[in-house]
C-alpha cells in the first residue's frame, strides 16, 4: 500500500507493481500492474486471475498494438526513467486522444512536484511521486497556471477557440 495523488487528492493505493523479471511470482489475487511484454505474452492466463490488471508502459512504448486491449486495464502506468523524458507526455496524449483510453493513467518512476502540471494537461490523472516528494505540498502544482494557450487532454479546445466562442453572439432562445 502506498500513497499516491489521484484526481488531485492524496489517497491510499492498493495496486502492486510487478517487475519484469518477477513474472513467475504473480499473485493469484489482488490488483497488479504488469509489464506490457508480459501482458502480450500471457494475456489469456492473466485474464483468469482474480483481481484487476493494470498495464505498465515505458515511455518509448508504441500504444498502437495494445489499443484493442485498453478497456481491459484498471490502470495504465507510464514509467519515467528520468524526470526530463518527454516521451511520456506524447504517449499519454496518444492513449487519451487517439486510442480513447478512459481509465486511470498514472505516472510512475521519476515523477516530481514540478512535472505535475504538464503531466496532468497531457492526460495523467494519477501520480505515484518519487518517494522523497511531499505529495500534499505537490498538489499546489496543479494550480500553477489558471489558463493555457494550447488545447490539451483536460481541456481540448485551445484558448483561441474558447475566446472566439465566448465572443460569438448568443442565439435567442
Amino acid at each position: 500500500m502506498s500513497r499516491i495523488i489521484r484526481h488531485r487528492a492524496v489517497v491510499q493505493d492498493n495496486w502492486q507493481l510487478l517487475e519484469q523479471d518477477r513474472a513467475g511470482s504473480l499473485p493469484f489475487a489482488g490488483d497488479v500492474i504488469v509489464p506490457a511484454a508480459l501482458w502480450m505474452r500471457e494475456r489469456a492466463a492473466l485474464s483468469f486471475r482474480l483481481g484487476r490488471i493494470g498495464l505498465w508502459l515505458d515511455t518509448n512504448a508504441d500504444p498502437g498494438p495494445l489499443a484493442p486491449d485498453l478497456p481491459r486495464f484498471g490502470v495504465i502506468a507510464v514509467r519515467f526513467a528520468s524526470a526530463t523524458d518527454g516521451r511520456g507526455y506524447t504517449l499519454a496524449r496518444l492513449l487519451r486522444e487517439r486510442h480513447a483510453y478512459r481509465g486511470e493513467l498514472r505516472a510512475i518512476g521519476e515523477v516530481l512536484h514540478d512535472q505535475l502540471f504538464y503531466l496532468w494537461r497531457c492526460g495523467f490523472d494519477a501520480f505515484a511521486l518519487r518517494a522523497d516528494q511531499d505529495a500534499q505540498q505537490a498538489l499546489a502544482a496543479f494550480d500553477a497556471f489558471s489558463e493555457a494557450y494550447q488545447g490539451s487532454v483536460e481541456r481540448p479546445e485551445p484558448l483561441f477557440r474558447r475566446r472566439a466562442q465566448s465572443k460569438a453572439p448568443q442565439r435567442p432562445a
Binding site: 518509448n60 524526470a83 526530463t84 504538464y118 500553477a144 493555457a148 494550447q150 490539451s152 483561441f160 477557440r161
Partner: protein, 573 residues
C-alpha cells in the same frame, strides 16, 4: 508591438510566481541542483563561468522603448550596467545573482516581457526577419505568425522535455533574412498562386523546412512541404514536434537535435511520418481560425505613417555634401515599403566593442531615439544590431548626428567588421576559446573605412565552440574556437552563406593562434581582391567561382612570398 491582453499578462505573472517558488525551494535545499536545472533553464537562467547568465526573450526581436528602458534599468540595478544582444534576438545579462532572478522576472513582467523557454530542451524564442513589416520585398508580415507560434509554444505541455532545444524561424519575404535553412524548423510565409491544391489564390501559407542547423553537425534543412495553408500551421507544428519528441535520440546529446533524426530516417521518411501524424491531427481543435489571426493582427500597434514623397531633396543634398553621412547612408540605411521612410541599423559593432554589447546608457539613449524617430519601437537583428524600422527620410541626417557620439553610427552593416560573435570563453562555460578579443583584433585591423568599403560585402562570424552560437558555418569567413591541448586555437572556414542561397563554409586547413587570425583574414582578403572579376563580385561569389584552394594555398604558403602589390593598393586600383 503586440500588446498583451489580460490572459497573456496573467500567464506571465503566474510564471514569475511559479519560478519564485521553485527558486525558494532550491535555495532551501528542497530541490537538488539537478532537479532545479531544467526548471531554471526554461526560465532563461544558466550557471556560467563567473556567475549565472539570464537570457531574456525578445519575441521575434521586436521591442518598445518602454521595454528597452526597463532592460537598461534591469542591467543597471541587477547587473553590471550592460547587456549582450544575442544572435537569437534575445538579451543576455552576464552577472545577475540567482536569488534576485525572480525579482528581475517580475520587473520584466511589468512591461510584458519574460524569459520563458529561452533555454532548455524546449521550443525557444521564434525568430524572424528584422525588416518584417517594412521590407519592400515583403510578401507576408511575419510578426503575426511569430506571435501565433509564440502563444502555441509558450508552456506547451507536451513539448517541454524534448530530446534537445528547438528553434523555429519565419521569413515572410523573398530574401531570407531569418536564416530559415539552418533552423530546426524554417517557415517561408508566402501567398498561394492559382492552381494550388487546398488554397485560394492569395491565401497565406508556408513552405516548411526541417532539420537544418549549425552546431557540431551543420546541415542545410529540407523542405518537407511546399505549401501549408495558414489554418494548418499549428497542427502541423504539433505533428513535427510529436514525431521528434517520440523518435529523436535521447542517448547522446550531440545526436539529439532534429536534424540528426531527419538525416538518419532520410528527409522523405521523416516527412512521411509527419504526414501520417498530421493526418490524425488535421482539422482538429488546433486548426487556426480567421478570427484569431485577425485578433492577433489587431493587437499589434502599427505606425501611423504620414503621406510623404518618395524622394527627398534635402537628403539628396546632404548625401552629396557630406561623404561621411553618405557612407553611413549606403551601409546602414535600408529601403522601406512606405514612401519617404527608411529603416536604420544602429551598429553595435564599433571598433573595439564586444559585438552585440550595449550599455544601460546606450539602451536608454536608443529608447529615446526610437521614441523621437521611429514610433517608439525597435528591433534586434540576428546580426546583433538594433534597428529603427520607421524613420522619416528627412530625419536621417539629424538621427545620424545624434547617434555618432553614442558610437552607434559605424557604417559597417554587411561589411567585414559587422562581426557576429558569441560571448565566447570570456563568459560562456561551454566555449573552447574566446571570441570577443578575436573580433576586436579584426575590427582594429580593418579600422580603415575606405578599405572596408572597398572590400565590400563580407560576413565574418565567430563562434567560441562547436555549438556555433556565432553562426560561423554560414559566415563568408567563419572562425571557430578549438581547444588543442588546453590552448585556444581558431579554425578558419570560407564559403558559408545565409539567406536564400545558404551554404556551409569549408575549413581551409589547420587552426591558427589568436594572434595569427587578423593576418589570416588579411591574406584571404588579398586573394579575393586579386582575383575578383569586378567590384560587383563579392568575396563569397569569388570563393564560389574559384574554390577555396587559391585561398588555402596563399594563406599557408605566403610566409615564403610577398605579394607584388599590397591588398590596399589592389583595393584602390
Amino acid at each position: 508591438m503586440y500588446l498583451y491582453d489580460e490572459i497573456d499578462q496573467r500567464i506571465v505573472n503566474e510564471r514569475v510566481q511559479q519560478f519564485r517558488e521553485q527558486t525558494r525551494r532550491y535555495l532551501a535545499g528542497a530541490l537538488s541542483a539537478d532537479e532545479f536545472r531544467p526548471l531554471r533553464l526554461q526560465n532563461g537562467l544558466y550557471v556560467e563561468r563567473h556567475a549565472p547568465m539570464l537570457r531574456i526573450a525578445i519575441p521575434y526581436g521586436l521591442l518598445s522603448s518602454v521595454q528597452l528602458r526597463k532592460l537598461a534599468h534591469v542591467a543597471r540595478t541587477y547587473d553590471r550596467g550592460y547587456g549582450h544582444f544575442s544572435t537569437r534576438q534575445n538579451l543576455q545579462l552576464n552577472w545577475p545573482s540567482m536569488e534576485r532572478v525572480p525579482d528581475i522576472l517580475a520587473e520584466l513582467a511589468q512591461v510584458q516581457m519574460h524569459a520563458i523557454q529561452t533555454s532548455g530542451s524546449c521550443v525557444r524564442n521564434t525568430t524572424t526577419d528584422h525588416f518584417a513589416g517594412v521590407a519592400p520585398d515583403e510578401i507576408v508580415d511575419s510578426f503575426v505568425w511569430c506571435e501565433l507560434i509564440r502563444q502555441w509554444s509558450t508552456l506547451h505541455p507536451e513539448f517541454a522535455y524534448l530530446p534537445r532545444k528547438f528553434k523555429i524561424a519565419v521569413s515572410g519575404s523573398a530574401a531570407d533574412r531569418a536564416a530559415t535553412w539552418v533552423h530546426d524548423i524554417g517557415l517561408h510565409a508566402q501567398r498561394a498562386v492559382r492552381g494550388m491544391a487546398d488554397a485560394e489564390p492569395g491565401e497565406v501559407g508556408f513552405r516548411v523546412i526541417v532539420g537544418g542547423g549549425l552546431g557540431r553537425t551543420p546541415i542545410i534543412g529540407h523542405a518537407i512541404r511546399e505549401f501549408l495553408p495558414w489554418r494548418h500551421l499549428l497542427s502541423y507544428l504539433d505533428a513535427i514536434l510529436r514525431v521528434y519528441n517520440r523518435y529523436g535520440r535521447r542517448d547522446n546529446k550531440y545526436k539529439a537535435r532534429i536534424k540528426i533524426l531527419v538525416k538518419e530516417l532520410t528527409p522523405a521518411v521523416f516527412a512521411q511520418k509527419v504526414e501520417e501524424e498530421w493526418s490524425q491531427l488535421r482539422d482538429g481543435p488546433s486548426t487556426l481560425i480567421e478570427d484569431e489571426v485577425k485578433r492577433i493582427e489587431s493587437r499589434f500597434t502599427r505606425p501611423a505613417y504620414a503621406a510623404l514623397q518618395a524622394g527627398n531633396p534635402l537628403v539628396e543634398a546632404m548625401l552629396a555634401a557630406d561623404e561621411a553621412f553618405a557612407s553611413w547612408h549606403r551601409r546602414n540605411v535600408h529601403p522601406h515599403k512606405v514612401p519617404g521612410y527608411a529603416a536604420v541599423t544602429l551598429s553595435l559593432k564599433r571598433s573595439g566593442a564586444a559585438p552585440g554589447d550595449a550599455s544601460a546608457e546606450q539602451m536608454d539613449a536608443i529608447a529615446g531615439l526610437a521614441e523621437r524617430y521611429s514610433f517608439g519601437e525597435l528591433r534586434v537583428s540576428h546580426e546583433q544590431n538594433l534597428i529603427l524600422a520607421d524613420v522619416r527620410a528627412s530625419d536621417l541626417h539629424a538621427l545620424w548626428r545624434e547617434i555618432r557620439p553614442l558610437g552607434l553610427a559605424t557604417p559597417n552593416i554587411g561589411l567585414l567588421t559587422n562581426i557576429i560573435a558569441c560571448p565566447g570563453g570570456d563568459f560562456c562555460s561551454l566555449a573552447n576559446a574566446r571570441s570577443i578579443p578575436v573580433a576586436q583584433a579584426v575590427q582594429r585591423r580593418f579600422d580603415d573605412l575606405d578599405y572596408l568599403h572597398d572590400i565590400g560585402e563580407l560576413d565574418l562570424n565567430i563562434s567560441g565552440c562547436m555549438n556555433s552560437c556565432g553562426h560561423h558555418h554560414v559566415g563568408h569567413i567563419g572562425i571557430l574556437g578549438v581547444d588543442k591541448q588546453g590552448e585556444e586555437y581558431y579554425q578558419v572556414s570560407i564559403g558559408g552563406a545565409q539567406g536564400a542561397h545558404a551554404s556551409l563554409g569549408r575549413v581551409i586547413g589547420p587552426a591558427f593562434s589568436q594572434e595569427q587570425v587578423p593576418e589570416v583574414i588579411e591574406k584571404l582578403i588579398e586573394v579575393y581582391l586579386g582575383q575578383r572579376d569586378s567590384e560587383q563580385e563579392r568575396f563569397i561569389d569569388t570563393v564560389r567561382r574559384i574554390g577555396i584552394e587559391p585561398f588555402r594555398d596563399y594563406v599557408y604558403e605566403s610566409h615564403h612570398q610577398t605579394p607584388r602589390r599590397s591588398a590596399r593598393q589592389l583595393a584602390a586600383a
